[in-house]
């Protein structure tokens, strides 16, 4: 086995149905409960536990309550800074988005393989991130057309555009607007997948290097291992940053819908 040890860096993204594979269907569409669903559930439960721990509602907060209030305050400030007073009503949505993605990313990085559990990062699947992105984009569209009716299209014509340029600018702005859900969903998916693939590839180097016997192999292994440690730290940072970016961009898009320019 030692000679044939081969790490498939993509295997970690495989979705494995756990139960309900055959008969769980809605209108003919399979809704099997997979490992991906399991980690969505775990992330949801983790967020629930985290927030519930901060619900003591004491006047003088404890550490946990302080942490939860820190997160809600962070989202509140984000929305207040980007949208203004009208942003207050989006706090539940942006908070849910941010916490779900953050906990999913961090849970996926947990070294649970040591105890035989394989973490699954569902944010590395565009089917999952796409749902969130489309949801955010749909809210932007609904709010925009609800508030401004057809005037919402003026979003695509920046102030001071020369008259002759309007059709061209309109087309460009429209395309960049329509690309938003894709960029939003793909950014998170790509960032998470790239990090996990990189870690897996490096771990393959570590294993194969040692298996190659004496020589340059172990040197490569040690160097790769050192790099892995650094990249683990980077990935934790990326987990937080990607959740923040998703929440930030959604709030910026909501700002367009709320205030046009």
């Amino acid at each position: 086995m030692a000679e044939t040890a081969k790490v498939d860096p993509m295997h970690q993204f495989t979705i494995e149905p756990m139960f309900g594979t055959d008969h769980w269907q809605i209108a003919g569409y399979n809704i099997a409960f997979t490992n991906s669903s399991l980690w969505m559930a775990l992330a949801a439960v983790a967020v629930l536990i985290f927030v519930a721990g901060g619900m003591k509602r004491e006047l003088v907060p404890g550490r946990w309550q302080m942490a939860v209030e820190g997160f809600t305050g962070f989202i509140d400030n984000l929305l207040a800074a980007n949208i203004g007073p009208a942003g207050k009503k989006y706090v539940p949505y942006i908070f849910s988005l941010f916490m779900f993605i953050l906990f999913a990313n961090v849970l996926g990085l947990m070294p649970l393989g040591l105890v035989g559990v394989h973490p699954f990062t569902f944010t590395s699947h565009f089917t999952a991130t796409g749902v969130l992105a489309v949801m955010s984009f749909a809210i932007v569209l609904i709010v925009g057309f609800w508030k401004h009716k057809l005037h919402f299209f003026s979003l695509f014509i920046p102030h001071g555009t020369p008259l002759v340029m309007i059709p061209l600018i309109f087309a460009i702005e429209l395309v960049s607007f329509l690309v938003r859900p894709f960029s939003l969903g793909l950014r998170l998916f790509v960032a998470m997948m790239a990090g996990h693939v990189l870690l897996e590839v490096l771990s393959g180097f570590v294993i194969n290097g040692f298996n190659a016997g004496l020589g340059i192999g172990p040197v490569v292994s040690v160097l790769s291992f050192a790099l892995m440690i650094a990249i683990c730290a980077l990935e934790i940072l990326v987990a937080g940053i990607q959740a923040y970016v998703f929440a930030l961009l959604t709030s910026l898009y909501l700002n367009d819908a709320e205030n046009l320019h």
Binding site: M10, H11, F13, T14, I15, P17, I26, Y29, N30, I31, A32, F33, T34, S36, S37, M40, A41, A43, A44, V47, L48, V51, A52, G54, M55, R57, E58, L59, P61, Q65, V68, E69, T72, G73, D76, V91, P92, Y93, F95, S96, L97, M99, F100, F122, S124, H125, F126, T127, A128, V131, L132, M135, F189, M193
Partner: protein, 163 residues
């Protein structure tokens, strides 16, 4: 790449469970719990603000109290000083009159004493004259063997004493 390879079999399940769990987070946590957490923060902020305002008001009240107390203390000090000045004046006047009274009494006593001294002195002078006249008569009797009339002796002594 399983994300694409498994797309056909898994997309519906992925979307379904994503909506279920995100819906759970949004409705239970986002809509149910987050507003309460934020209400707690708001209550605390209000409490702090009102406490600060109360503290500020109390400080202002204390300042006013102190100012009033200072004014009262100043007034009372002024009153006390006036009282002291008045008492000093009265005391000075009283002592002056008593001094004057004592002075006149002393003057009277002095005059009386001087009169007595003058009287005593004149008495003494008369006595001396008498003694001197007798002594002169005796001396004359002893030295010259003459008997001098007392009257003449007295006259002579008076003449010698008074120049």
């Amino acid at each position: 790449m399983p994300q694409i390879a498994q797309l056909a079999e898994t997309w519906s399940s992925q979307i379904f469970w994503m909506l279920i769990f995100f819906g759970f987070i949004f409705f239970v946590i986002g809509r149910g719990m987050v507003p309460k957490v934020m209400a707690t923060v708001e209550t605390r902020d209000r409490q702090i603000a009102s406490d600060l305002a109360a503290a500020e008001a109390a400080r202002a009240a204390a300042d006013a109290e102190e100012e009033a107390w200072r004014a009262q203390a100043n007034r009372q000090r002024a009153e006390a000083q006036a009282l002291i000045a008045k008492a000093k004046l009265e005391a000075a006047q009283a002592s002056e009159t008593r001094l004057a009274k004592a002075n006149t009494k002393l003057d009277a006593k002095l005059a009386e004493a001087e009169a007595q001294i003058a009287q005593a002195r004149s008495g003494a002078l008369k006595e001396i004259e008498k003694v001197a006249a007798e002594a002169a008569g005796d001396i004359v009797t002893r030295v010259a063997g003459l008997t001098v009339d007392a009257k003449a002796a007295t006259a002579a002594v008076k003449e010698a004493l008074n120049g």
